[in-house]
Symmetry: C2
Subunit: 519 residues, 2 copies
């Protein structure tokens, strides 16, 4: 019951801060800023938007002149990004410190045992593997990231470990490279009838670092300025390393914090993969290209499909490095089909594509009939719509947090494929259910303002990545255009159903759920 | 013996005509033309070339002003392209008229029988196939093409049926579409370990026309201005329809006439493939793309590899149409591994790549130890070098003409991949054997002149194709650059071995062979 009060207080603080921010400053500014700057998202429309949403957002443009400082800093300093979150109880952290240390110490000694055995065998068969000492550091930033995962998000807003971890990933020493678990589960068999996501899929690598961190590497497959051809189905599109990076930044800017940290990285395919891997199959897919570059190709597509190879120049290859989540044995997750899943076939249509009342059915079904799950799905669809990601067939949640857990936004590499197309069907959960979290809407409205413009804060955020520029200007301005379209969808819902029906206080359901739990 | 004399007379006429052409006109012109035009192949070098080749070619530039007329007409009017060929004896034609008519009449009636049965079965299973009447016309241009194939070439220089056939191919009505025989021989199985040429390979289609002509369609897979990435091995490069078209024109300009007629064609994938095919498997690989275009993909790569699909807009797809040779049952051919075959692996090297004396070995081996075969291989390497085709693993000859038959230059779709690279290893037969037919060299020298410049005559020739432009300017000027490099290779050989050793009268060996035969 005490927690309920805290949550309610937190909600009130959010609304209050927003009130002060948007009511005290408003009428002073009106056209001052809008005239001189080109805004692809037509700010004039946003002042109309305010009619049907919250009073505090009645006036959208800010009177302060754009002093040229960091828009991103300004965004993160905004009250909406500084709401007090309740102090976490012990059950609201994903992991316990002692348990985690114990788990990793066991993993380290198992790893050392395995490596000793492998190295003996390798020496006997004349295979040279570069050996690195592994040193598990309980104070490493990746450990802090794991310890910081809570029922609210993957990391807290001001957690310095995240920024540090992004920095670490640039040059962490790689001590082992292997296929990822899902790559391995294919066991080299090419069961094409089962594979929904072919090609790029099997080129990702699991890297182990000297400090025992693990990260997934997705190599560059496509130039920044290439657009996915219009005839390509979403489920055969290549995976884009820059989309993986941009998705992390977008998710953080939307304040979801449901994407594990991702940073760009230059990888030396010879020194950091070929010479450190203990997997003979992985070693076997390496070759030297006609241009004398080091390349490797997908295991499953061996012989037939060397067009799918990726190559370094001559050894260096850029890619995305995503921090691994804690292992499934210590932090189990479940994968749940997205209710708005696509058909992954040439012709079949799913029910949601033909039934405009589909959401009414979903609303009746567990776990969408209570709590935040449906609102979380709508958040996810907003995230996916902004980046044009149609490949969200499943979502994952930590089992520990049960039905109230947040949805992990993993595997975003099929976003940012076409800047010139806005795939409205991705927004089906929002447009069919006509519901949105008040907190999400407030942030979206903020990002639609020139003062915090989404494309500007994204550009600034992405500039910190070593592989910058991550997104072309065309993709950045698509974000603004899509944000505008998204707010129009909410506007139409409010016109139809009224704001009380559409704009939902997302703290309440969780409080209810908790009170139910405590009964 | 009479034929020998004829052949010798013909040789003398060639040399005589060249003499008149190049000695009567020469000294009058020297720099007049060269100054005003940019020539990527440095004509000044070509005058040096003449030192070591034939006296008639001593002076290369022509005194006549470039009157702006057709360079291609001028080329084909040149004495080198108007040498008298001996009248063909009955055994020097590939086919006999009666035999061919009999063969096709049988084929037509078998076809009609099959179609009747198929259509009954199709009606029973509710499959609608568009039916066209087939009318075999013994006077059709494709029949004339078949009848014109001789021991000298696939067609004679002035054969109007070839120009007519190219014209016919633009709009011949397609009455049936199917996989090609080599596509079918895979039987849908994807034996990757066997497949040297994946991807594009299985997207080609065998089309039957209303007048019973057959042609192979290769769809467009690549934009004209795209270059093959430097890391792609030649054996996984896509097949280019425009290379197939350009190769026919290049082969004709080189006066080889060993490529069957190829023309560009817009094909309606729905009306001319999907609705006329009787192959259920082919019908099954058709789908509609997200952009609502009609597409189809390679049978062997089904499910996994829809990225390999080709799509019309919405139904129209451009491609190359190559006239079929007479069926193997009436005109058998054998396929022989190219002695300069590449390894088709990532690492293995073939003997010719490491042994500079490889040609000495080959010269000892049947059938390269007598006759024209080795000179024909060198012709082929010249043809392949000019277009940058590294994919000549086998060559074919008509069995009827035995070891003295010309080599068919089939399957040229992997040419014209990189305009910026000149792959000198393709010339290995020439550079290692240091032999070239006098007739080939004379024509190459002619095409190196500004007055007949290879790129100009190619551009002009390709302009007649309905899909023009077929080659980008970068590819056209690469032809001139490569021709220059090729002549330098001959120059070096002559310097080393003397012209008598290098420049070979190709008529003699055949005459010898014939006289041997008649003994």
């Amino acid at each position: 019951m005490r927690r309920d009060r805290l949550l309610l207080a937190a909600s009130l603080i959010v609304i209050f801060s927003a009130d002060i921010y948007f009511i005290l400053l408003p009428k002073l500014r009106s056209t001052g800023e809008g005239s001189g700057r080109s805004c692809s998202c037509q700010p004039s429309n946003f002042s109309q938007l305010s009619d049907w949403t919250l009073t505090p957002l009645q006036d959208i443009t800010l009177s302060q002149p754009d002093n040229g400082g960091s828009k991103l800093d300004r965004l993160f300093a905004h009250p909406l990004y500084n709401t007090q979150t309740p102090v976490l109880g012990p059950e609201e952290s994903l992991l316990h410190l002692e348990q985690l240390m114990d788990y990793y110490r066991k993993k380290v000694s198992r790893w050392e045992r395995h490596m000793k055995l492998y190295n003996e065998a390798a020496a006997a068969s004349n295979i040279t593997v570069m050996e690195h000492e592994v040193a598990f550091d309980p104070d490493a930033n990746w450990v802090k990231f794991h310890l910081g995962i809570s029922r609210n998000a993957l990391y807290s807003r001001q957690d310095p470990a995240i920024t540090q971890l992004l920095w670490d990933m640039r040059d962490m020493t790689v001590v082992n490279a292997d296929y990822t678990q899902d790559g391995k589960s294919l066991k080299g068999a090419c069961d094409c009838s089962q594979v929904v996501k072919p090609s790029g899929h099997h080129l990702k690598l699991a890297l182990k670092m000297q400090n025992f961190a693990k990260a997934m590497f997705k190599p560059m497959r496509q130039q920044r300025e290439d657009e996915t051809p219009e005839d390509v189905f979403y489920f055969v599109d290549v995976q884009r390393h820059n989309a993986e990076i941009a998705a992390f930044h977008l998710d953080r800017i939307l304040d979801f914090r449901r994407v594990p940290p991702v940073a760009g990285r230059w990888l030396n395919l010879t020194g950091e993969v070929l010479q450190v891997t203990r997997n003979d199959e992985l070693r076997a897919v390496f070759f030297t290209s006609p241009a004398n570059n080091t390349c490797f190709f997908a295991k499953c597509l061996y012989m037939c499909k060397t067009e799918y190879a990726v190559c370094g120049t001559p050894d260096l290859l850029e890619g995305s490095l995503s921090a691994y989540l804690p292992g499934l044995s210590i932090a189990p997750r479940i994968s749940i089909p997205n209710p708005w899943i696509r058909s992954y076939s040439f012709t079949r249509q799913e029910e949601w594509e033909v039934n405009p009342l589909y959401c009414d059915t979903i609303k009746q079904l567990y776990p969408y009939n209570s709590g935040n799950r449906l609102l979380n799905i709508i958040d996810m669809s907003i995230f996916d719509f902004l980046m044009g990601n149609m490949d969200r067939h499943h979502y994952e949640v930590f089992t520990k947090f049960g039905d109230e857990g947040f949805l992990l936004h993993l595997d975003n590499a099929r976003g940012f494929g076409k800047h010139s197309q806005d795939e409205m069907s991705i927004l089906a959960p929002l447009s069919q259910c006509c519901m949105i979290k008040r907190s999400t809407l407030l942030r979206l409205q903020l990002l639609a303002q020139a003062h915090f413009r989404l494309s500007d804060v994204m550009r600034e955020s992405l500039q910190k990545d070593p592989l910058q520029p991550i997104l072309t200007e065309a993709h950045l301005s698509a974000l603004d255009r899509r944000l505008h379209k998204l707010l129009r969808v909410v506007q139409r819902c409010v016109r139809r159903l009224g704001k009380d029906q559409v704009i939902t206080n997302d703290f309440k359901p969780r409080a209810e759920a908790l009170s139910k739990k405590s009964k």
